[in-house]
Amino acid sequence: MHGRPRKASKPEDEAASAAKAVKLRSLQSQFMTYHHEKIYTKEAIELSTKLLEINPEAYTAWNYRKLAVEDSLSRIESDPNSVKSILDEELRVVENALKQNFKSYGAWHHRKWVLSKGHSSTGNELKLLDKFQKLDPRNFHAWNYRRFVVELTNRSEQDELQYTDDMINNNFSNYSAWHNRSVLLSSLLANRVDGFIPEKKIPDEYEIVHQAIFTDPDDQSGWFYHLWLLAQTVNVESPLLTSSWPSHGSSVILSGAGCLIGSPFNVITFCSETGSVPLILYFDQAVGGVSSLTVTIDSELKGNENLVWEPISNKSSQVSCVWVARLKYLISEPCESKEYKVKVRLGNSPGIISSRGFNFSTPYEFVFTAHVHDTAKDSQERIVSWTDGFELWNAQSKDLNSLATSDQLNAGIDLKWRQAAIDSEIECFRLLADSKIGKLTLARLLMASEAMMSDAVVKGVHYEEILQLYNDLMALDSSHHHYYKDEHSVAFLHKVTSSSESLSRYLFRYRGMNNLVCLRLNKLSLSRIASVEKLLFVQMLDLSHNELHSTEGLEAMQLLSCLNLSHNRIRNFSALDSLRHVKQLKVLDVSHNHIGKHSVDTTRYLCSSPLSNSDWSQDDVRRQNPGLVTKYWDAYFVLRDLNLKQLDIAGNEIAGDEFNSFVLQVVPKLVWLNGQKPGN
């Protein structure tokens, strides 16, 4: 039951419970003897009944009864009446046990077990449940069992929906009822049962939950349901391609390692000593099954018939939002500048399936032009400076559009009702914007609205308000400051990437190396990275002087070769784990962070630890210096997989001669460490 204050037990209660314990102990030991000797006599079964009626938590006794039931059923064979009477006795014991403690897992489970034997009438079960749910309408055991019985009896989901209606009308502060409602509606909507079409039902549900939220904004149950509804409004079932690199209609210059003299200003130049360029597919939800079977490449570039697509995710799972393949462009014989068209097609044959089981069903293709140059001459390893050599992107340049267009976003979705629902929600929650949860909900709704807007004219109008709401929340509710801060960063990055115009303010060309495309998001107090799907083309990223804790999200930026993370709040190398996927990364600046404070990232639920890295294969470093590997395991695992030429680590607790020498062992190819050539 809820809302009952706990009382200190009185001495006489304690005496009673002690007496009960003595009795229980003797019962229990007698019972265990029966159980071990597999005695299923009437007397033995009655003893277990007694035990369970006093203590329904005795799970062993429930299991014993299951064995006893099986035993007696095997003996009487097929007399339906005796079968029924045996099972009815079990139901009676469960009912008594539930009267004792109606949150007993064992008792509910036993009841399910008896019912699934299929000999008992299910008619009584709903009546019994009504009784229990009257006592405590929120008890989730009863609700779980209810779902089980409903499934068994083929009671219609509409009837059950009506039942949640009644329960909510009695007292809307009932998480279980709202939850069951969401379960039932999901199923009814998915199966398109009569009249259950999202564009009709979802607005109705909003109307119902408004009544709860406005009546008592301090009650959380309605808000949870609202959050679920919002997800139903925004989320689309079938996965879609959010963006790709190269994007449709773009041109890229591909060359070998080194510096290409006179590389044009308006086209991305990509250099690689391996002679392959990443193709990036970015989906709106995690998908699996991306392969050369489901994605076809038409190109004159040889040797790309069976491209290997890799999911980019920190978990070793086979689903991810981001998939990468490496397109080979340098064929052994030297060639003159040549132009190739590359056409990428996906969705024509089934196989790309979201983690929730929906097919990528809208075929899509994109075409880009690759200019392949011969290997460049100049391969001097110059230090990359973050202070000069930048030239602002020309805001008028049309090339930016071709870099940053989103591809399949919102294609073929019934946007109209979704937008209408979100708009009316926004209007509604402006009225509640004096409460914290009201502000948060409004901010979320405005974000959802921005995500759905396709009209470039009005796109971005909400961001100022969203940012202001999160600023207010940070001031009002300090205990959730970090969450609001993160959401503020997300909104800010959405704003930056919402149009070419706003993005161009942060975009530069770095003259030092082939006019790298550089995005400078420094000094913006960002605590989280977002909108990466619109930044796949970025080759150089300046995130210095922010409040970042981790590089999560950057793994999609497969072209990234220079990254500045100095003056942030990174606490260990595990926080840089996602960079292991960025094979192009040559320059990394993590100076002036908090690396060395904690080698385990305790701020995350699923954090990396020495035990989570299974790849403890022996290499030279481990053989020569096992002590240092153990000490700096987090740095070892990240740096080992990177291809760094330049690393800045100064200004961290970990920094020092010992660590520097360790770094040089792990990354022997390093050219610049903390601004100096090692060995000098």
Binding site: N169, N170, N171, F172, H210, Q211, A212, F214, T215, D216, P217, C428, L431, L432
Partner: protein, 560 residues
């Protein structure tokens, strides 16, 4: 009146307390006194229990109202008012009957049907009246054990009405606010916030350690209506709170006509009673309950309790005179209509019993002082209550049987100065046959015409009057949905206050409120004055026998 059958003389003829009249106040006093061990004789001139709180059949109600109304007032007895008693030390002072009712008008529109069912009605004299679950009367019943003799049912719903005829649910609880269709989202929000404020205010008074938001002292002294405005509550919600939850009578927005401008403190107290009532009994649907078989069950329950404790009951026994000591003027006893003289130390009388002004002139000052409370006073406060009873076929709201409807001041017509309350009751509480309902109406008024006019206006808002065949077609369409009137009573009742007079005290008449809070509180106060500051029913053990199992929506009240 009724021909009295000859009575055997009462034995004993000496009591500590004689109580005349079996209304709620008198019955509570009789039960309390007999519980504390005093010898009590409880008399009533009527053949039924309850006096002005009785529930009667239609013919009995008709004859009671007629015999207690002003117009057919019998002339004062011709015999000399003061006679020597049988005993020579005493004188007797004749009593006169005071009529509480005026403008009584009873009309039947379908005598045949009503006669057929005439004994199946239990119609209240003091309606509309309900019991609040947290009401003092319930506490007294629990304390005295009188709860064993009454069973209640919930009032299903309460509504606010207006001249359009539309009845809107009163959003009086969290669930009701959630379900309400007439409130906007913002109104729901503001109203719930206000309820929470009231609740935290209540919690404060119970528990001093919590530091919740509290209403300031200054606000507590300000008019309640101003405080509601300060809480940004819109007019429609203000009106619901004032008239349908706090159950006020006078228009709080009109300084000229408002006889009682409620302070915030009092307003919070009234809401507190309502809120506490909502949650008191788990098997009650809302704040209000009604006794099965009518309000007459309540005084009767106290009488039965008193009888169990040794109180002697005689019905159909008027008293005709008081006996006073010749020398000291002290009260000694009463003379019954049977002629027998009975003696007691204390006397409690029904508000209808007075001494004639002409008899006072020949009395000594001491004798006059003893009879002080029985002297009819010129009414300073001309406040009266107009009541109406209608028997209808059907219900004013489909699917709902027992319901309270409030028409706030000015909601029916511009000159409506006070709130009109309407209570519909059905066969579920055993007051009428199955397909009918009894409706009670009341309004405070300054004169009979004003009151009757308002009642008729409310009636026509809810009920279809039987129209002669000739012009029935005109309004048929609009009235089709309204239930049809079968029987109607209209009457205006005086509001008489109770008075403590030492050995002789007079109890108040049925008051103008919806519940028994004030009636019982004043009865308790009077009783304590009469008996000394003894606590009522203090030693009573309440029976906690649980009989709530399966009584089809009945509300058993019990201590929890």
């Amino acid at each position: 009146m009724i021909d009295l059958p000859p009575y055997p003389p009462l034995d004993p003829s000496n009591y500590y307390l004689i109580v005349v009249g079996t209304g709620v106040s008198e019955s509570v006093s009789a039960a309390a006194a007999s519980s504390s061990g005093s010898s009590v004789l409880h008399l009533d001139p009527n053949p039924f229990y309850g006096s002005h709180f009785a529930s009667l059949s239609l013919p009995d109600l008709t004859s009671f109202l007629h015999s207690n109304s002003v117009s057919p007032h019998p002339p004062p007895p011709s015999s000399p008012p003061i006679l020597p008693s049988n005993s020579h030390e005493l004188i007797s002072v004749d009593l006169v009957h005071r009529s509480l009712y005026s403008s009584v008008e009873i009309s039947s529109f379908d005598s045949e049907i009503l006669e057929e069912h005439s004994r199946r009605f239990n119609v209240d004299l003091c309606g509309p009246r309900v019991v609040f679950c947290a009401d003092e009367s319930i506490n007294l019943m629990l304390k005295s054990g009188a709860n064993n003799y009454v069973e209640f049912k919930s009032i299903d719903a309460s509504f606010v009405g207006d001249s359009s005829g539309e009845l809107r649910n009163v959003p009086d609880s969290r669930a009701a606010i959630f379900k309400s269709k007439s409130l906007t989202l913002l109104e729901k929000n503001l109203l719930m916030k206000f309820f929470k404020l009231v609740q935290s205010q209540l919690a404060e008074s119970d528990d001093t350690t919590t530091t919740t938001v509290k209403i300031s002292e200054e606000d507590m002294e300000s008019p309640f209506v101003d405080f509601l405005a300060k809480m940004r509550l819109p007019p429609n919600i203000k009106s619901i709170i004032l008239y349908a939850i706090a159950m006020l009578d006078y228009d709080q927005d009109n300084m000229e006509t408002c006889r009682h401008l409620l302070k915030t403190k009092e307003g919070i107290d009234r809401l507190a009673l309502y809120i506490k009532s909502m949650g008191r009994f788990s098997n009650a649907l809302g704040a209000l309950i009604y006794p099965i078989y009518g309000q007459g069950e309540l005084p009767q329950a106290f009488c039965r309790r008193a009888a169990v404790k040794g109180c002697i009951y005689v019905l159909r026994m008027p008293i005709t005179a008081l006996l006073l000591d010749k020398e000291t003027g002290d009260y000694k006893g009463v003379r019954l209509a049977s002629g027998q003289e009975i003696f007691s130390q204390k006397l409690i009388l029904d508000p209808c019993i007075n001494v004639g002004l002409e008899s006072l002139s020949s009395l000594t000052d001491q004798q006059n002082e003893t009879l002080r409370v029985l002297v009819p006073k010129a009414m300073i406060n001309k406040e009266k209550i107009a009541r109406g009873i209608c028997v209808i076929r059907g219900s004013v709201k489909s699917d709902i049987s027992n319901a309270l409807i409030v028409y706030p001041p000015k909601s029916l017509f511009p000159e409506q100065l006070t709130a009109i309350r309407v209570l519909q009751l059905g066969s579920g509480v055993a007051v009428c046959p199955a397909d009918m309902h009894v409706l009670y109406f009341s309004i405070l008024c300054e004169n009979d015409d004003q009151g009757i006019k308002a009642l008729l206006s409310a009636m026509s808002n809810l009920i279809r009057l039987p129209v002669p065949e000739s012009d029935s077609s005109v309004e048929n369409d609009t009235c089709e949905a309204k239930p049809l009137l079968l029987w109607r009573a209209l009457y205006v009742q005086e509001l008489v206050k109770g008075e403590f007079g030492g050995t002789i005290s007079s109890m108040p008449s049925a008051d103008g409120s919806l519940n028994y809070k004030e009636t019982v509180e004043s009865a308790v106060k009077l009783y304590e004055q009469i008996m000394g500051s003894e606590e009522l029913f203090k030693e009573e053990e309440t029976s906690l026998e649980n009989t709530t199992e399966e009584n089809e929506g009945g509300v058993e009240i019990e201590e929890n």
